[in-house]
Symmetry: C2
């Protein structure tokens, strides 16, 4: 019964401190950098962290998703992760660019 569509916050509802917190972890920031190049299969990201257990990776993604930073949608039998760049740019102009520079 439980569907696997995950909750994504409205961008107006995300607080700046939540975004900053999500980005303040090196592993999460690295994922954001990878995804900044374009949407990525979840299996494909975390290239820098090869041996990461999947539950851990799933949790990192959850924090990013709940902070409004990434979108994570079902895609075939996997998932596609993408950066919510337009949303973030509208809500916190310049932030993403300065973090990713």
């Amino acid at each position: 019964m439980a569907t696997y569509d995950l909750e994504h916050p409205q961008i107006e509802d995300v607080a700046l401190t939540d975004v900053l917190f999500a980005l303040s972890d090196p592993a999460r920031l690295e994922i954001v950098r990878e995804v900044a190049g374009g949407p990525l299969e979840m299996a494909a990201c975390g290239a820098t962290n090869p041996g990461l257990p999947k539950s851990t990776k799933s949790h990192l993604m959850k924090v990013l998703r709940e902070a409004g930073i990434v979108r994570n949608v079902p895609n075939g039998r996997g998932r596609l992760v993408s950066l919510r760049k337009d949303d973030l740019d509208a809500r916190f102009p310049g932030l993403l660019d300065s973090v990713l520079r």
Copy 2:
């Protein structure tokens, strides 16, 4: 014997994730906003948090200081807190502006 001059990191030594983490706490971010207007006596900042115990406030300042965000120097019998804006702008261009906007 112990001097009360506190350690301030070289700006090149501070990691982006440390800065983001320090700014990800609402109370700390508020202090940064206050200090962005110009140097402030430590006693004068935290206006939004009137009843904050001094040990707690001291700890918030420590996190900001160790992240390279503020400078905290003795001044009379108190301390003067200032934003390391130039350092931060050089190290992470645009970051501070986008966070404080």
